[in-house]
């Protein structure tokens, strides 16, 4: 048990430490999220009923875009300074180390979005129940975004125009997360109950936790060889 968890924890600890040393990167993605969400009322108009209706979609789309920002930097610095090659050579399975990196990416980009979303939801006049559902949906959905995004980040590692290409590859794959994530809040508001959407989101997360680190590892080996 400990032998499995130790490398994951070590990588998470290392990546969080690195993130703490370079706070600006984390904060940039966070402020990007806030700005994008705040721009929508300016573009659409301040009618409360309309804002309440579009809030889940706007917050989710902004979360997708904010997650994309950090993805390009997920493997690139480690690739540049040779850390990634050391990880491939290390006695711990590469899949575990990659899982640790994905978890660290979620803690630095996904988790802050989850914590901030209720504040932004209040701007859009969502009530308490809807805010709670949104936080739960984002808690289930943002790790999914990090997991799927990691595959794209590994595939585009070291390529010309990698950042733009990454969004082209990953955003279509984010569609189910967006639909069920934003749908959960809307279903709650319309009185249908968010249970079904949240269960599907959790099922997708379970599927991605199993498959995504594996696909990411295969893609990284191709990029490095």
């Amino acid at each position: 048990m400990n032998a499995t968890l130790a490398p994951i924890l070590a990588i998470i600890r290392r990546d969080l430490l690195l993130a703490m040393r370079r706070k600006s990167e984390v904060l940039t993605a966070l402020f990007f999220f806030i700005i994008v969400v705040s721009l929508f009322p300016l573009g659409i108009g301040p009618e409360t009923a309309l804002l309440r209706k579009i809030a889940p979609g706007v917050i989710w789309v902004a979360a997708l875009l904010a997650t994309m920002l950090g993805l390009a930097r997920l493997f690139a610095p480690d690739h540049a300074d040779g850390t990634l090659e050391q990880m491939v050579l290390s006695p711990s399975p590469l899949g575990l180390l990659i899982t640790g990196k994905i978890a660290a990416h979620w803690i630095t980009t996904g988790l802050p979005l989850v914590l901030l979303a209720p504040v932004l939801g209040i701007q859009f006049d969502l009530d308490g129940g809807a805010l709670g559902i949104m936080v739960v949906a984002l808690l289930l959905g943002t790790p999914l975004l990090s997991l799927i995004g990691a595959i794209g980040a590994a595939l585009t590692l070291g390529l010309r125009g990698g950042g733009v290409l990454l969004s082209l590859l990953v955003l279509p794959l984010y569609v189910p997360a967006l639909i069920f994530g934003a749908g959960a809040v809307e279903a709650h508001i319309s009185g249908l109950g968010a249970g079904g959407h949240l269960s599907l989101l959790a099922a997708l997360l379970a599927l991605a936790v199993f498959f995504a680190p594996w696909a990411t590892t295969a893609a990284l080996r191709i990029a490095i060889e």
Binding site: I151, L155, T156, L159, R160, G161, G162, L165, L168, L169, L171, P172, L173, V175, P176, I179, F180, G183, E186, A187, L192, L200, L204, F211, A215, A218, A219, I222, A223, E225
Partner: protein, 252 residues
């Protein structure tokens, strides 16, 4: 025993596949033309005018085969990609690369003809119907695959990276389809449904099947032509390519 079985692995090498593809291409073109002529005849002359949709419905003879091909080619492409990853055959990656543009064109064609069909029938170029939306996302997946392969200079890495993307995509296609479908029923946006279309006359069905065959033959012919070009490009350094009469002729 082994003499009687065709050794399929022989054709996994570009060198032996190149002349085979060259021999097959004229046949597939000929079949494509025959089926297209027959299919278009049925489309425009034999098939009766639909009593609900009028003459405008005839675009489905292009639309439906294109939509079928766009989905089918993605599966075939992912199949070649998986084969390439599992067996490490060079030709598989080339086949996947050759199929992608045709698949993207089919996806685009199905969206485009769908819009032309939708305007007179539904009164809108575009509705957020589950099928339309998932066809659009399928088109994006093709574009992503082509863009990824174009961005990687080393062809072997391009093949393998593309293969992983195609396999991830093929797992996601049903998930995307059902998520879009449930999203659509929740929103109840478009009240029209393709599945409740009136039952088709036999001539219409035949026309559609023959047009589908024509699209099949066209796709195979084009993919084989493209794979021959890819083989020439990638194997340009080898002796057998330099000895080919068409390469010799081009030099003089």
């Amino acid at each position: 025993m082994s003499n009687r079985i065709v050794n399929w692995f022989k054709y996994a090498s570009p060198q032996s596949f190149y002349p085979l593809a060259g021999k097959l291409i004229p046949w597939f073109w000929a079949l494509a033309i025959v089926f297209t002529v027959a299919g278009l005849y049925i489309t425009f002359f034999a098939a009766p005018t639909d009593f609900q949709q009028g003459e405008g419905y005839r675009i489905i003879f292009i639309h439906v085969p294109a939509a079928w091909m766009s989905m089918f080619i993605y599966i075939v492409m992912a199949g070649w990609a998986g084969l390439g990853l599992a067996l490490n055959t060079r030709l598989s990656g080339m086949m996947a690369q050759a199929l992608a543009p045709t698949g993207a064109i089919m996806a685009f064609l199905s969206l485009w003809t769908g819009a032309f069909w939708g305007k007179p029938m539904w009164g809108a170029w575009w509705v957020w119907d589950a099928r339309l939306t998932s066809a659009l996302i399928l088109f994006f997946l093709y574009i992503g695959f082509i863009a990824l392969q174009a961005a990687i200079d080393d062809p072997r890495r391009a093949d393998k990276a593309g293969a992983i993307l195609a396999l991830v995509g093929v797992v996601n296609v049903p998930i995307i389809y059902f998520s879009v479908k449930w999203w659509n029923t929740l929103h109840q946006g478009a009240s029209v449904s393709l599945t409740k279309a009136p039952t088709m006359a036999a001539t219409m069905l035949w026309g559609m099947l023959i047009m589908a065959l024509a699209f099949w033959m066209y796709s195979i012919a084009v993919a084989l032509t493209r794979v021959r070009a890819i083989i020439l490009e990638r194997e340009a350094h080898t002796e057998w390519v330099k000895d080919l009469p068409e390469v010799q002729g081009a030099k003089q």
